[in-house]
């Protein structure tokens, strides 16, 4: 049975998919691999219920621990190379690749300077203003005052635009590096900036300005434009920072290098080796499709999907959406291939396309092999059922074939058309 709010337990997607089969195996005293579906069978069902793209996304968003999955890591780097060789040019407008000689407009100033992934917590972007080594570097690179000036400009612009907006929600903070909960502090700072010169600000105010400047991402925060002068200095600073780290704090940062796997980053980021410039679902879907075809070419798709199947769904599946939980429950039921399948509003949380897919599956794959009993409120899904029963106040008031009941122009007709038939 699949209900509207199906039972999903803490564990992986795979654990949840195999729950019914394992219960049956246990009841029959079966152990080992006997009775378990193959990976191909699991993938086939996952595709049928429309969960494939979700599982692939979980896999591509996975982060590997250093020293683990070494064989896979090498293959991911190979996929990266194939991706860049085959699609780098056409994607240049969509993806900003990690190129040490170019500024990344869709990455923050901090990410542009560090140009790698931190291995020490004090080099995480939000910790940098408290990192004496980093602040000293900014000072010696001639960047500290310039960044404070950028921070001051971001503060003034944001406060000028948003100061009179009553109760601004998160939408109003998507295009500024100031977060909603920080706005009051920056409004006060904007007031002080009108009275105190930058070099006379308190250390706390300096930190506030640097925080904004280091978050500044020109491709997103278009209220302020990054000048060519600062851009050039930041690029020089990137090289200087790498030298400093190599000399004084080796190993503090894993720098972006085309031939290395970046352990703190996701599989997707490792393949892309850059930042996507857009949030357009169409473009992201196209990128994902390209990556899938490359994973197939490298004979990696199954291995990657296995990683996605290991995704931990959280307590009662709270890391999944309502639609994903229903898809997992449907896939679980389909894998078991029960003689009777009861669906109680089992597709209510799915979008129209997914509902149609499941309906087609029931009408084609399951017809003749299992009995499907479905409780539904959406009446466009019932036309091909062998028998329809209309219930009212807990009692069946009408039953028969769909065409037969519609011909009678009774309760079902009334429900479908929203009114009783006109009487002559």
């Amino acid at each position: 049975m699949v209900s509207q709010h199906p039972f999903i337990f803490e564990g992986s997607i795979k654990d949840n998919l195999l729950y019914s089969i394992n219960a049956r195996r246990e009841a029959h005293g079966v152990d080992g691999e006997q009775g378990l579906p193959s990976l191909d069978e699991i993938i086939a069902v996952v595709q049928q219920v429309g969960l494939f793209a979700d599982i692939l996304r979980f896999a591509l968003n996975s982060v590997f621990k250093e020293g683990k999955k070494e064989h896979l890591v090498k293959k991911v780097v190979r996929v990266r190379e194939a991706y860049h060789a085959g699609h780098g040019e056409s994607l240049a407008g969509t993806v900003e690749f990690f190129d040490p000689t170019r500024y990344l407009y869709y990455s923050s100033v901090a990410e542009n300077l560090i140009f790698g992934t931190p291995r020490l917590p004090e080099f995480e972007p939000d910790k940098l203003t408290g990192n004496a080594f980093f602040i000293n570097f900014l000072h010696e690179a001639g960047l500290k005052m310039l960044l404070m000036q950028t921070g001051a400009e971001l503060t003034s612009r944001t406060v000028d635009i948003l100061k009179d907006v009553p109760s601004p929600d998160a939408t109003f903070f998507e295009q500024t590096p100031i977060m909603a909960e920080e706005f009051d502090a920056y409004r006060d700072l904007a007031f002080r900036l009108g009275r105190v010169r930058l070099h006379k600000l308190s250390p706390d105010d300096e930190r506030l300005l640097l925080t904004l400047a280091l978050r500044f991402t020109p491709g997103i925060h278009s209220i302020v434009t990054l000048s060519p002068i600062l851009e050039g200095l930041l690029l020089s600073g990137r090289a200087m920072f790498a030298d400093r780290v190599a000399t004084d704090m080796p190993g503090a940062v894993t720098f972006f290098r085309r031939e290395d796997y970046l352990y703190p980053m996701t599989v997707m980021d490792n393949i892309l080796f850059g930042r996507v410039r857009t949030t357009s679902p169409k473009v992201l879907d196209q990128i994902q499709k390209t990556i899938v075809s490359l994973l197939i070419e490298e004979d990696m798709l199954e291995r990657i999907l296995e990683i996605g199947l290991d995704f931990q769904v959280g307590s009662s599946g709270d890391r999944l959406s309502g639609g994903q939980r229903q898809k997992v429950a449907l896939a679980r039921a389909f894998l078991k291939e029960p003689p009777i399948l009861i669906l109680d509003e089992a597709t209510a949380a799915l979008d129209n396309a997914s509902q149609t897919r499941i309906q087609n599956l029931l009408e084609n794959k399951w017809r003749g092999s299992s009995t499907v009993i479905a409780v539904v409120h959406r009446l466009d899904t019932i036309t091909n059922y062998d028998k329809v029963a209309v219930m009212k106040a807990g009692r069946i008031v009408e039953a028969g074939g769909y065409a037969e009941l519609m011909g009678k122009k009774g309760m079902l007709y009334e429900l479908v058309h929203g009114s009783a038939p006109a009487r002559a």
Binding site: I161, Q175, S227, S280
Partner: protein
């Protein structure tokens, strides 16, 4: 030394905030709306790129964004039964979708990029959130829409006087 300017950056096809503000201030639909509110709308607007052939909006789909063409060219088409009726192409400076910001509406036309096109885009969600916070702008915007309807019909009646008299299909301004 000023570190920030509103000059576009070479690696970033930018429509800076000030450019965006200038564009919105000139839009007839926002005429008379206070500068502070137009500033918020300019800030919430974003730039989007469309490849040649790509749809900015499809006929029959919810019209939930307005577009201002920054560069490139778009064409409108309306599908009538089995045949598509092409309409004139528009280029830089063309604005459409403003009515969709005000209330639920479905596009009567498909709009496609003829060449690679850059647009300034404001979503209905962001417009509505701003308008909720500044309800005083509604009478201004309503006045601009009504004024546009009257002007449009007056021009239409002048150009198609005989046709209108024959079919009797006129009088949108009498709504």
């Amino acid at each position: 030394m000023s570190l920030s300017t509103d000059q576009p950056q070479p690696g970033l096809k930018s429509c800076g905030f000030n450019d965006c503000l200038d564009i919105l201030r000139e839009l007839p639909i926002l005429s008379g709306v206070p500068l502070d509110v137009v500033k918020v709308l300019a800030y919430l607007s974003g730039r989007e790129s469309f490849d040649a052939g790509e749809a900015l909006c499809e006929q029959g789909e919810a019209l939930d964004r307005c577009f201002y063409v920054l560069s490139g060219e778009v064409e409108m088409a309306r599908q009538l039964d089995a045949c598509a009726v092409g309409l004139p192409r528009r280029g830089k400076g063309y604005f459409f979708g403003g009515l969709g910001l005000l209330a639920p509406a479905k596009a009567l036309f498909a709009v496609r990029a003829v060449t690679d096109t850059e647009c300034l885009v404001l979503t209905k969600e962001k417009f509505q959130k701003t308008a909720e916070r500044f309800p005083d702008i509604w009478p201004k915007i309503l006045g601009n829409v009504v004024g546009h309807v009257f002007r449009w019909e007056e021009a239409f009646l002048a150009a198609h006087a005989e046709e209108c008299a024959t079919t009797g299909e006129m009088g949108l301004s009498l709504f």
